[in-house]
Symmetry: D3
Subunit: 224 residues, 6 copies
């Protein structure tokens, strides 16, 4: 899956932009619930810390729950962008309302919570699920594409929206294909996050160190 995601990121990246892919070294094999998300936030922080050490200009969190986003911003110098955040923003730039199609029903509340936190609770009409586990997305037996097509169609017919957001980084390589299928924007957050990160870096905008996103206070912490 990291390969799929890094591939999508590299296809999106502009000339001269180097994408460094990192697989989380702490957490769950896939993120399908609050528990997986809490654990994986630590893996995200580890990766962001490595990226900082390496001098990365910006960080993209390539899990749709945007785990540890604000925490990552505290330790980062440049921008940190979550793919749900990026997808919601991209969708709002090209439509007035959108729906999300994610993996498992139990993760819908996570996307709803993000919609609230990002101020997209009105723009995001509905979160839908295809009920395919993250690690089965690539398994042909799961018929992911077929289920996605069906759910996207229902969303366009019933939700009164102009765009769709794919609610999992593992769906990144289907967005373009589905956009063509429906003649409506179907948005993958990975590409969007990469481009928005490039945009912010180019503008000289970094994570604000004034206020709650300032570097963490020095104190004892468990090494990880």
């Amino acid at each position: 899956m990291t390969e799929v995601i890094v591939g999508a990121a590299r296809r999106a990246a502009g000339p001269g932009v180097e994408i460094v892919g990192r697989t989380s070294a702490f957490g769950a094999a896939s993120i399908e619930g609050h528990y997986d998300e809490a654990l994986s936030a630590v893996g995200v922080l580890k990766a962001v810390a490595e990226g900082e050490a390496q001098g990365c200009d910006a960080h993209v969190l390539a899990c749709f729950g945007d785990p540890g986003l604000l925490a990552a911003r505290e330790i980062a110098t440049g921008p940190v962008i979550g793919i749900a955040e990026a997808a919601f923003r991209a969708a709002s730039f090209v439509s007035t309302h959108f729906s999300v199609v994610t993996t498992l029903t139990r993760t819908k509340v996570i996307a709803e919570h993000l919609a609230l936190v990002y101020g997209a609770e009105r723009a995001c009409r509905r979160v839908r699920a295809v009920d395919v586990a993250v690690l089965e997305l690539d398994d042909p037996a799961s018929n992911t594409r077929g289920l996605l097509v069906a759910e996207c169609r229902r969303a366009l017919e019933e939700d009164h929206v102009g765009a769709l957001v794919l609610g999992c980084a593992g769906m990144a390589d289907l967005a373009e294909d589905l956009s063509r299928e429906f003649g409506a924007p179907v948005i993958d957050g990975v590409g969007a996050a990469v481009k928005f990160a490039e945009a912010l870096v180019s503008l000289g905008l970094k994570t604000s160190k004034y206020g709650d996103l300032a570097h963490p206070l020095p104190k004892a912490r468990t090494p990880f």
Copy 2:
């Protein structure tokens, strides 16, 4: 600090209720920001898992940011209550509006976010800070009590509220004293969480395993 908190919990606990105190074995020495919170969620999950193994009927998260609350609910059988959540609910039972007085200014957004998530964004008029670090609360040189008294007074005079919530578990032993000082409820979440947990256990109410709080799906996860 664990002692102060466990002491407050034991004073609140009903007859026959055993309080098991656990100091987080993973995370930060104190929680004063998004980063500390994300790390400490893992310590919380570790402690809740131990409590489950030991057969605890309920769990209280004794940090005002309620780190890892929903994640903890996934792995718990009985109720899991955060002290911010408990304090907000207690304040709403005895007043129409309240303000929070917490430690550092940089943590105010965390309390604001919780107010939003718990539906207390109207009931909670304002989050205030005394700008004393958590680990200095007990240091007489920090004049915590004096600063708290002054900030609580400002809140009662300016915020049009009927109750105050202390925004740090480390302030637990000051609530009663301040309540007397002001003749208005000054609420510590530790005691409130213990009593609400007892109430739920007594009612036979456990964390719903129907939906997003169901036990985590089996999969590979980093041991911690």
Copy 3:
């Protein structure tokens, strides 16, 4: 019905807690609309005043509309808890979202209004009705249990919730049974209100007399 309710309250009450049941002496035989509710608020206030005179430590308003709640808090010394309020709080402690199943369709807006006022407008996904009149709940011909089971099932299947709240004190004795039936929390507000009231009393928390819940100003009022 008072018997059913007092029975539920007594089953919930802790050791040493005395439950005094009062049937409203002013108002409507049942509360099924704004008009019944406005009239019955006076009966509630009468009962709370009697409880105060008798030295009750706390008051539970056992009608799901929580009629006269803030008014009762003005004349009470200890906590006053409405059963809708208690049920919403209990549901939020054990699930992220819940639905309400109440009696008549015309009372749904009352529950919706309470959800708004209590900050549960997001946590409460939907209010449903079985369209059985309050006074017919106990009549076997009404098939209350069958209709409740069917509506609860629809809620769990369609509303994306983890818990259900029964929207009438007269349903108090069905909660436990339905919880077992569905393997998900089905919450009765009567028991929840009793336990939360005990919790607040035990914490020494009383209705704030600072601000809008202070005792009513002395003035001429119609005796009732």
Copy 4:
């Protein structure tokens, strides 16, 4: 005070419109809190029932808390309008934001609650109080006019509003004078409610009997 209010209503009334003034026969001498309001709702319902019996085409509730509004709508055939509701609507027709200036600080939460219920939580920037008791409004010693002028001025200078609403029926005869003083709309709800009621009657619009405002169900109720 009934005289002041009826006078304001008659001045506002159109040709051929007869105003019948009723002093509430049940409740509190003045309404300054949740308790007074709950009691007075019964007086309101009594008066509306009398008006219905008499064949009144519409009803105006001349207390700024709009006590018993929805209940009154259930028993009325024609429109029922509260003066807070009318004042908020009038203010929204002539400005984008307004502030309310009411009597006692303890009643501010009542006006805030109405703003929420009427969907004016954004349009109403702030509720202010002059801290004069309702029954002292007419007492020259209370300096009501002077205090109102000062508070209105502060509102216009600080609240970023274009109009002001007087938060008590007893202030009805000051609105015109203050409007002139400030060159900005200062709105009395009594006149506004009378005119809006006339408008609805003229349009043939009556309280909907479809849904929650249908006539109360037949059942035993305390005579009052």
Copy 5:
């Protein structure tokens, strides 16, 4: 269509009130989208300027999107009322919730936006469309009345509302008929706006010139 609208306005107008109808001289033949609305706002401003020059006491914008409402208020002395705004207010006076039935699906977001801006996002349960173009409303082949009846029926059965709002000025002459058909208020904004305008004029209330609705600052502007 101007005739239909002016006819409805004249039927609503009180004795002695003169209605001056103006067909927008700038914009689109009908308003069915954001683009039409933006263009037509200029026609509205032109018409309001003419009305001001002619000494009109108030202005009614007879297009359901209320195009240019705040802009028109800047150049008007008296009140300016949009028919969507008026219809929403009228519906709120006689019901607790309402739905809107408008022309084309693509215009639903406009009505939803107005509901938000007017604070009716909770009172307005749903916006529905019959998918008849504005200019075909009068064409018998469009079966407007039949489609409206069907959609209104669905709204009353499914939306849990007590009143309906017709979402196009061109439907003005159907409101009374549909109200009779359903025994529930079906509201046309044209009549409502006229009566509310009369009410405000009679109360001496004019558009506030204090703040953001003050007359436009003198500067160069394209003549139109």
Copy 6:
């Protein structure tokens, strides 16, 4: 002013991106109120139509009120971005809360409305004004920079924010300087809009033609 804005856009633009500046050919010399905004929306649409004819890939509306944004999206093929929208999004990527500093007090409600529409009503803490007219921004006598510095400082000290947004395209060339002065992001929407437009174009995302942003229906419209 067009020069200042085009200069900022060109500095932001990536290699190979051509910026075509257009001064609105219809509307007001500056936009300082609802009236100016409504008129200028037509100028915006004219310019976007020209850009479409010329084959522009995307459009940036360089007025902070984002006049005619949704209308422009209807006639555009590629993305259309407003500078307020872009600035709000950029601010949200690098901070949790921000304040806006705009020109005249009377335009504050326009920025507040945009914050609501864009879902930034919580992220945007406050809108402030320096009370310098748009056309005087460049006049040394207006002391724009000094007033901006003072107001930005107040915002950082009082508003509990991590970033600031400059609320006028005419301030575009001050952002970088002020960012340095305060060590916190001070954001100009012109550059942000250009970069986000580039990002969307690069991602192949165009304005959705499915739903309310579809091309306007063919009908008679005033030529402009």
